[in-house]
Structures are given as structure tokens and as C-alpha cells.
């Protein structure tokens, strides 16, 4: 058991905790979203988890205007805040903001706020344990997600070790784009690894996510081989026109089916829940027009996956 404030009680960057998750591993779980991602997927629906450290967000609706407040304007060292004459409310010039957070400290209405905060292992575990009863009954536990949770390997290891020591089932969600040593450090403390196959074609992977996929695929192969007791669940975040082809599904199946500890291939239909967060962060949604997959297409592809898994069983 970790003692709050002890040297082992290290801290990391956390976006938020989501209670009662039912899609991030077995049973009812608490998902801890760690901050920072090593990819830049153009369809990303969690833009607030991309930057490795807390970052400024702005909700115009909460701004009470410079006539009554205006405290943020003089504290900004970068001249990144200004007021609009027509409505008297503040705007952020995102090109100039350095994320120093001085405006957040003085904003009384929380129009200016930070996505992400520093949390200690003991703080995260204390919050996760509030749902302890649900874990024992449902076989659930803690899931580390992100961003890319393996971008903070020491923090992830400490969290999972502590959770497991308290009898929780442990899971991670990863996109795999980390040095193998990061993954190898964390996996001994993991029961279930949910992992993404975004694109199997290298050039397409680079185009849509900003990075090559060779290391990702190599990491997955090494993880399947070296950690036979982990339950691996492969996932495809399905984006129509990007990776919803039979060729991609087949390539993923070819990669996972030889390994008996890969138990599933899930299709996660892309969605647009992240739209407003792009606005709050002043970011451009690079793939703003993508559609969600149709129910028919999902059914077709899931049938294809089920057939291949059935063939493996025989």
C-alpha cells in the first residue's frame, strides 16, 4: 500500500476520471484518462488529452465580460487575450497563448480553465476506490486510457501496481506508439490490454496519425509473445473512408489470429462527441466532416470478424 506523500507516491498528468465505464475492459470500471498522446489522429474525439501537460481552454458562454470583470487581460504575458467590442467578452488568440495559466488563476467564472491536472497515485487510487463495490461484483476495476497512457510509464506502472495490490482488475488502452521498454515496464501489472489498430498500411498510418506504424506492430507482436497471460483485445476505431475497408480488417485479423491470447477484435464506430472540445481548445478539427459508420456496414464487418474467429476456434 502506498502512503500518501511518500517518495513512491509519484504524480502524473491526468485529464479526468470516468466512473462506471462499461466499454473499457471487463465489468464495471473506472477509467483514468492520462494526459499526452504520441499520435495526432485526425479523427481524434479527445483533443483535450493530446498535449502532455495541462492546457488552456475557454468557454465563451461563461465569460462575464470586461465591463464587469476583465481580470484576465492584464495578467497575460503573451498578449493572447483581447476583448471584442461588439459583445464585450474575451477572446483567446490561441497562436499567442503559452499555457502559463495566469488567466485561469484570476477568472472567477471558470470561462478560462485548464484541461488536465497533476495528481498523485494516492489521489487517483482514492477516487477509483470509491467504486470498489462495483468492481468485486462485476469483475471490473481500473482502466488507464488517454491520450496514450504509456507515455507516462512510471506513473502508469505505479497506478496499476497499487490497484492490483488492492484487488482490482487492471486494464490499459494503448495505441502502441511508444518505445518497447515503456510497454514492457507496464505490462507485468496489466490483466487486459485494449490496443488500437488504426491503419495497417504504413503510408496511410503516417498520413492520418502523423507517425509510422512499424514500431506499433512490432510492439504488439512482442507483447502477445512475451505476456501470454494477458488478455489482449484488439480494436479498430472505425472511420468511414479511412479504415473501414475489408482489406484493413483482414490485415488486422491476420496479425492477431495466430496469437491465442488475443481474444477479440472490436470495432469502435467513430463519433463526433469531441466537437465542442475542439472549440474550447481553439483547435481546428482536421477531419470535421467525417461520418459515423452505418449500422449495416458495422454488421457486415462484425460478421466477417466473427467468421474468422470461429475458424480459428476450429
Amino acid at each position: 500500500m502506498i502512503h500518501p506523500g511518500s517518495p513512491e507516491d509519484i504524480s502524473g498528468f491526468v485529464v479526468n476520471l470516468q466512473h462506471f465505464s462499461t466499454h473499457d475492459g471487463p465489468g464495471i470500471r473506472t477509467t483514468v484518462f492520462l494526459k499526452g498522446c504520441t499520435l495526432r489522429c485526425k479523427w481524434c474525439c479527445n483533443p483535450e488529452s493530446i498535449a502532455p501537460k495541462p492546457e488552456l481552454a475557454f468557454n465563451l458562454k461563461n465569460c462575464i465580460g470586461v465591463a464587469e470583470c476583465g481580470r484576465c487581460l492584464p495578467v497575460c504575458p503573451e498578449q493572447a487575450l483581447h476583448a471584442l467590442d461588439s459583445d464585450g467578452k474575451v477572446r483567446v488568440n490561441w497562436d499567442l497563448c503559452s499555457n502559463c495559466g495566469k488567466c485561469v488563476e484570476v477568472c472567477p467564472s471558470k470561462a478560462l480553465y485548464h484541461y488536465g491536472k497533476v495528481m498523485r497515485v494516492s489521489e487517483v487510487i482514492a477516487e477509483v476506490e470509491q467504486d470498489g463495490g462495483f468492481y468485486t461484483e462485476s469483475g471490473g476495476g481500473i482502466t488507464l486510457s488517454g491520450g496514450e497512457c504509456l507515455m507516462q510509464p512510471e506513473f502508469a506502472t505505479a497506478l496499476l501496481k497499487e490497484a492490483r495490490g488492492r484487488g482490482m482488475n487492471t486494464a490499459i488502452e494503448t495505441a502502441g506508439n511508444v518505445p518497447w521498454k515503456f510497454m514492457a515496464q507496464v505490462l507485468p501489472h496489466v490483466d487486459t490490454m485494449l490496443h488500437d489498430y488504426k491503419l495497417t498500411d504504413t503510408a496511410a498510418h503516417r498520413r492520418w496519425t502523423g507517425a509510422d506504424n512499424a514500431r506499433i506492430l512490432e510492439n504488439y507482436r512482442a507483447a502477445y509473445s512475451e505476456f501470454p497471460d494477458i488478455n489482449f483485445i484488439a480494436r479498430i476505431p472505425l472511420v468511414p473512408g479511412v479504415n473501414d475497408s475489408e482489406e484493413h480488417i483482414d490485415a488486422v485479423l491476420d496479425a492477431i489470429l495466430p496469437y491465442p491470447n488475443v481474444s477479440e477484435l472490436e470495432l469502435l464506430p467513430s463519433h463526433r462527441y469531441g466537437d465542442s472540445k475542439y472549440g474550447f481548445l481553439g483547435r481546428v478539427y482536421a477531419l470535421e466532416d467525417f461520418a459515423t459508420p452505418t449500422a449495416e456496414r458495422l454488421q457486415q464487418l462484425r460478421r466477417r470478424i466473427a467468421q474468422r474467429f470461429a475458424q480459428r476456434a476450429t
Binding site: Q79, L84, S86, D95, P179, A211, D212, D275, V284
Partner: protein
């Protein structure tokens, strides 16, 4: 500082006639014995020279009046201070590559930069903000303003606005004719996230019946009543940033996502529910930049190029050249950045609209 060689670069956003500004700047520089070169795609020519078979720095040749394109490219959205690159661990991250730009300029013997920059409906004053950051790093630079929405506070006459206004008015006029022929109401959305200048100016020129701008909240019931009682057909011009009165929900995102088309749809839905006329929404969006460059903009662009070079020669780097009533003035970049000029209550165009019984969103 003695100047021997300058570079010209463009912020993102196409305008007809940009090549004329680039050539005029180069010509004015050569007149002073300087060499002028162009940077491809903003600063991408220096950040990623390997992407350009002819090099990221190109000669600006000829003095012709070739107005096709911009010579240098305007497609970039890269901020050299936050470039997406892979780090040593293979993590994709946003890195400050401004040093590479400054090194590249120094290695190429470039003493100063003239940047033709504007605002962006999506991210704010993007290219101007980038130049402001470079100026704080000590890069001698002068900016020329370009804007489709005419919302930069530093000048009422940015390059490109006249051409955009002209073409927008032509499009609106055609929509007006179509609406009249069909006995319907055309709702046409035009750019203008923060300021309604384009909607107001082009709407006046095209004979709009209703103009909705961000500066004056509209009431959908009032608009419906006006349409029902005043005309069989009508042209309603809506600026992208127009907003309903409190109580009616505005379009969700203000930045980050392109909001093009949202307000036209919202006005259409809210007014159609209350109105006996048949409405149809249209979106001009980036098509407003698709017209020909006007003579006013041709002349203005050339003057801007000449003035930018004059400012550099006279030691006024770190400024924006601003056309004003008496000619041109130099506005410091610190004063130009973040300043948005909205339509104030005393704007003559607003008075003209009222005097012509153009409905501005709410019943008096």
C-alpha cells in the same frame, strides 16, 4: 541595418491578385538595389525545403501583371512556433521550430521579411500572430494586411476586401434574382465571424431585404413577421457570426470548427417555422474569394508593396502598413495584433441600411 536581400511570404488564405502584391513588393525592393525572393507556403519553404523540388526559396521573376495564383502558395496552416514533428522517442508533438526559420533566413542572407497576412475565421489572427511572435524574436519584418471580412482594426482597406465584396455582391444579386423569379426567400450566409462588414456592404450593394450581422442579435419571429408583411420574395444576407437574441440557442462552436453553414441553417429553420414564405438557405463561404481582382485592389496591392518596402528602408520594421484616409500609416505589430474592428452603431453603412428600410434583425 543595411538591407541587401528581403524575403516575401504569404499567410494562409487565397485571394485573387496576390501575385500583384508579391511582384510589386519585389519591384520596389529592386528599385532600392535589394534582391527580393519568395518563401513557399508561408514559412514551410524554410521548414521543409525538401518538399519543394525548386527549393523553398524562389526567385520572383518578371514585372508582369499576371494575377493567377499567388506565386508562392497560400495553403499553409503551419505555425513555425508549433510544428507537428516526431521527437527522438518517435512521439508526434508540437515543436517550436522558429529557430530553424530564423537560421534559414540568416543562411540565405535574408535581412528582412515582408509578410502579407490576414485574419482567420477559425483561429483568429493566425498569420499576423505568427509575425508578431517573429518580430519579438528580433526578425525585421513589415506586414501587409489582407482580409475577406475586413475585421482588422488597423485598417479599413486591407488588400483583397474590395475584390471579395465585389464578387459577393454579384453572387447575392443572382440569388436575389432567383428568389424573385421563384417567389421565395433566399437566405445566403457570407463570411464574417466577428464583424458584419461583408454582409452589410455586399448586402447593400445587392439590394438585400434583411441583413443579419454578429453585432446585432436577431429575433427569428421579427424576421419572419417582416418577411410575411413586406415582400413576396426576398434576399436575407446572414454573416457567419450572426447570433439570435438571448433565449434562442446560437450555433455551438465559435472557434475550432469551421462554422460555415450553421447559421444559415439555423436562421432557415427558426424563420421557416414562423413564416408563410418559402425559404431556401445558401452558403457562399470560401466562394467569395473566387472572383476576379478589382482595379481598386490591383492598385491598392501595388501601393501596399511599395509602402512596405519604404517602411523597411526607413527603419520602421516590426510594423504593419495600414491604408488610411490620407494614404498609409505604420501601425506597430503590437497594436495591430488581436484588434478586431466590428460594426459600431455609428457606422455609415448601418445608417444607410436603416434609411433604406433594410431589416437588421429586430423590430424597432
Amino acid at each position: 541595418m543595411a538591407i541587401r536581400r528581403i524575403a516575401i511570404c504569404l499567410g494562409g488564405g487565397y485571394f485573387p491578385g496576390l501575385s500583384g502584391v508579391v511582384r510589386a513588393t519585389a519591384r520596389a525592393a529592386r528599385r532600392r538595389g535589394w534582391e527580393a525572393v519568395g518563401l513557399r507556403d508561408g514559412f514551410d519553404g524554410l521548414l521543409f525545403p525538401e518538399r519543394y523540388p525548386r527549393g523553398g526559396i524562389v526567385a520572383i521573376e518578371g514585372d508582369g501583371n499576371d494575377d493567377e495564383g499567388s506565386l508562392l502558395g497560400t495553403g499553409t496552416r503551419n505555425d513555425p512556433f508549433r510544428v507537428q514533428l516526431a521527437n527522438a522517442d518517435g512521439f508526434v508533438e508540437e515543436q517550436d521550430a522558429s529557430g530553424r526559420v530564423l537560421d534559414g533566413l540568416r543562411d540565405a542572407g535574408i535581412d528582412a521579411v515582408v509578410a502579407i497576412v490576414g485574419g482567420s475565421a477559425v483561429t483568429g489572427s493566425h498569420a499576423l500572430g505568427v509575425m508578431w511572435k517573429f518580430s519579438r524574436r528580433g526578425l525585421p519584418c513589415v506586414c501587409i494586411p489582407k482580409s475577406a471580412e475586413n475585421d482588422l482594426a488597423a485598417t479599413t482597406q486591407p488588400f483583397g476586401y474590395d475584390s471579395v465584396r465585389e464578387f459577393t455582391a454579384q453572387c447575392l444579386r443572382r440569388a436575389r434574382i432567383a428568389a424573385r423569379d421563384q417567389g421565395r426567400v433566399a437566405i445566403v450566409e457570407v463570411p464574417g465571424q466577428y464583424a458584419g462588414w461583408l454582409a452589410l456592404d455586399a448586402g447593400l450593394a445587392a439590394g438585400a431585404d434583411v441583413i443579419l450581422i454578429p453585432e446585432q442579435a436577431y429575433d427569428a419571429a421579427d424576421v419572419a413577421r417582416h418577411l410575411d408583411t413586406h415582400a413576396d420574395s426576398a434576399l436575407v444576407v446572414v454573416a457567419e457570426g450572426a447570433r439570435p437574441r438571448a433565449g434562442e440557442s446560437p450555433p455551438e462552436a465559435e472557434v475550432g470548427l469551421s462554422s460555415a453553414g450553421r447559421i444559415a441553417r439555423q436562421v432557415y429553420e427558426a424563420v421557416q417555422q414562423r413564416c408563410g414564405r418559402e425559404l431556401f438557405p445558401l452558403l457562399l463561404d470560401q466562394w467569395v474569394r473566387a472572383g476576379a481582382v478589382t482595379a481598386t485592389d490591383r492598385a491598392l496591392g501595388k501601393a501596399y508593396g511599395a509602402e512596405a518596402v519604404r517602411l523597411l528602408a526607413e527603419g520602421h520594421a516590426q510594423h504593419l502598413v495600414a491604408a488610411c484616409a490620407g494614404g498609409f500609416e505604420a501601425v506597430s505589430l503590437a497594436d495591430a495584433v488581436n484588434r478586431i474592428r466590428t460594426v459600431d452603431a455609428a457606422a455609415p453603412a448601418l445608417h444607410s441600411a436603416r434609411n433604406l428600410d433594410i431589416f437588421l434583425g429586430t423590430a424597432p
